[in-house]
Amino acid sequence: MNWNKRLYFDGGTGTVLQAMGLAAGETPESWNLSHPEKITALHTAYLDAGANIIKTNTFGINRDKYENYEELIAAAMGCAKAAAAGREEAYIAFDVGPTGRLLEPLGDLPFEEAVALFAANMKLAKKYGADLILIETMNDSYETKAAVLAAKEQTDLPVFVTNVYDGSGKLMTGADPAAMVALLEGMGVDAIGMNCSLGPAQMVRLVEQFAEYSSLPVIVNPNAGLPEVKGGKTVFTVGPEEFAGYMEQIARKGGCILGGCCGTTPDHIRAMRQRVEGVPYALPAPKNKTVISSYTHAVEIGPDPILIGERINPTGKPKLKEALRSGDLNYILNEGIRQADAGVQLLDVNVGLPEINEQEMMKKAVAALQAVTDLPLQLDSNNPAVLADAMRIYNGKPLINSVNGEQESMDAVFSLVQKYGGAVIALTMDKSGIPTTAEGRVAIAERIARRAAEFGIAKKELIVDPLALTVSSDQNAALVTLDSIRLLRERGFYTSLGVSNISFGLPAREKINSTFFACAMEKGLNCAIMNPFTPGMMDAWYAYRALHGLDTACTDYIGYADQAAPRQTAAPAAVTLHDAVVKGMKEAAMITAGEALQSREPLEVINGEIIPALNEIGEAFEQKKAYLPQLLMSAEAANAAFELVKEKLPPSAATGKSVILATVKGDIHDIGKNIVRVLLESYGFKVYDLGRDVAPEAVWQAVEQTGCRLVGLSALMTTTVPAMAETIALLHEKDPAVKVMVGGAVLTPDYAEMIHADFYGKDAMESVRIAEEYYRSVC
């Protein structure tokens, strides 16, 4: 394609076809077979009006919606080819619209299934000779990524992407233009932009944002204004001349490929082309920005140091190790959310343990984390296969931790970055180890940058970690690292450090760490992988930013200082652990449990305080003297206390009582199940929570893996009770010793018996009684 001049898309399809007689309820794509001559006439009208890219009439076609999807696509391509035949410059854009389904985790379309759906279309785009792929009207970044992956894996055609931004300048699922630019540039698409939803007037501001971030040509295909209803019909009111006027403004602000969407007609395109033709054209200048993104926002690496939370990494963390071994994702999620609340901007995710399947766990952790936090992730593994899977399903442009100067490392990591996009932490080490001088470390960084360039990866995507080695074994270690940072900054590299390594083997490590952190920032450090729960590190960061003009009016610092100031203690001395649990006071429960543990045995605290308090509130609930939210808050307070007590218990004293919980296949309601979980946990049961919408086979797998033979199933809808029956049948068939308790809004004791459940729990308290009874009977 010729990029050296402005290109013009055609305009609306559906709205024009309606004017040509498409009936309500009739789909535009059906006309590919029933009225091909009209589709060809539409394309011809746009080409005559001055468009040089036409969109095939394939927006709504996919394998799930149409059995004859290939026939429809072939016919659409035929219409486009007939219109383009004999014209000097008429490109055929194979049009790809959204699936209409929402991807997991919020929806139920698995990411790989979305990729496969799009792939089926992409293969046909290639087979029938499209000139480029246009992925359009996408309002979800994750679905956009699935479509782009499919296009890249099935074809070598240019890929154009336009998303739908709303009045607040974001996609329906939250991404802003900077985040989309990062994601799509990383994946190597050819042009990006916006279409539909807004009129040209509202898009002007968005075009400015794209111009700021994008190094790729920007596509702008607005509607003919915002829709209005007149005489019971939706109409678009911006006429051709007015439209052209706005498009001229858009061209001046950097719009490179211009056209229209709903409500625009060949007249709009003709007027636009005449008006815009005189506006000077230039491709956007390459932007030298280093950006990481999530599904909502981009984080730019630069003079303002970025904090990367290090807590999701099992090294030296027994609790996380235990969580990984037992597949407890909740623990990982809580670590992620707590770090986000503590103020980090990125989360490092490392789940490598020799005894677990790191590849599977990494995928689960990334999927779960990006469901609960919008922080961009730093994917951390030394196994390229683990990175490959994680990068594929990551909803954004990740930071990769890490590459080093060894050939195999560079080739493996850079080929992944080439495909999925990403910035990379580059460690200045290779086969011969870590150079002892700053110059030696910089030399490795430069070698890594040269190899990256051979993969088409710009130097700006590398963030060099010159490695901090402990000063306890080498007095010069910190000085070499600090000097490396200075030198790297001079050579145009951004830098990162795992700060806490510096104090390994020394007492009161935080004191060294925070001072070293301040020194490193002074030398120009851009990112720190650190523990945000250490006040000294946070002090250093806030103070540094305030002192270096990075914190306007010291607002962030003042907010931080206010928050960190000692507050009045939350628990008045009079509150006992028993009261704290009954009243659902989580903080007070933790404080009083800590106090109780100083003078009493852990088991005594559990059996003498926590359990009686829970029984008290549980009985009040059963007698309707307390309400469900109170019961839940008590259970949470008890759990918080229980966690502290557990740390003092020898491992052998753990109760050994466990329950598997799941909401059945097809049911996405998990509140009831979560209520049961928190109550069981507060009574000391180990709960394997499989989540919601869980297939029967997955429940059986959990029984096999954990050896736990008590299963709790929840269903809220009558439509999913058959799935519950199916799950029970499978469990009993595989192992008659498995006992299943059921509960949920639609169940009754009779219903439970009919589907062969072993127990029916009318509420969460009863499920605790059932579980206790079960363990009394089997012991």
Binding site: L102, M172, G232
Partner: protein, 188 residues
């Protein structure tokens, strides 16, 4: 026709909220949960005014295919037109609920109850804006009475649910989960 509802315009009905919270007393923490919830609500709606066709006894056609329903036929007695509408609190609410589900069952429960009550309030507010001075029959939704849930797909299609961000999962449940579709007859 599409519109947005400012979050400030949505007030949960206290009685309904109490029922959803299963509590007759004020629940501690509700205010904080509401504040957190309001930050992520992005409420949109769309509606159409359609003629009511009655191709056969107890059979209706409101522009998204004909279907049988005694209940809705009765509900629409005396009406020749109906408003169809869809309203959603947006996918941010689902994200918040997912997050709370991992974080705190108590806050999850309270926030879910609040969100359901706000969705109901959004539906009320949308209804008021759509009908204006017109007198309307009580709202009816797919899944109520003998109106099949299967109608959700063609109804949302006609209402351009996709532009509101409303999708259906394989079990015909709407995602965002705090979304409502409704049919409302216009009394002459």
């Amino acid at each position: 026709m599409m519109g947005e509802l400012p979050t400030a315009a949505l007030q949960a009905n206290p009685r309904e909220l109490a029922a959803r919270l299963q509590s007759r007393l004020p629940v501690e923490g509700t205010e904080e949960c509401l504040e957190e919830l309001r930050k992520v609500v992005s409420c949109r709606y769309s509606f159409l005014r359609m003629p009511i066709l009655r191709p056969a006894e107890n059979t209706l056609d409101l522009g998204f295919g004909s279907f049988e329903s005694k209940n809705l036929t009765k509900n629409l007695t005396g009406c020749e037109e109906a408003f169809l509408f869809a309203v959603t609190l947006g996918v941010g609410v689902d994200r918040l609920l997912t997050r709370l589900s991992a974080l705190s069952p108590a806050r999850h429960f309270i926030t879910d109850a609040l969100a359901s009550a706000l969705a109901e309030a959004a539906c009320e507010e949308a209804e008021q804006r759509i009908k204006g001075e017109l007198c309307c029959a009580p709202r009816f939704s797919p899944g109520y009475g003998d109106v099949s849930l299967e109608l959700q797909a063609p109804l949302l299609n006609l209402l351009q649910g996709q532009k509101l961000g409303i999708t259906l999962n394989q079990n015909l449940l709407m995602v965002p989960t705090k979304s409502i579709t409704a049919i409302m007859g216009i009394k002459q």
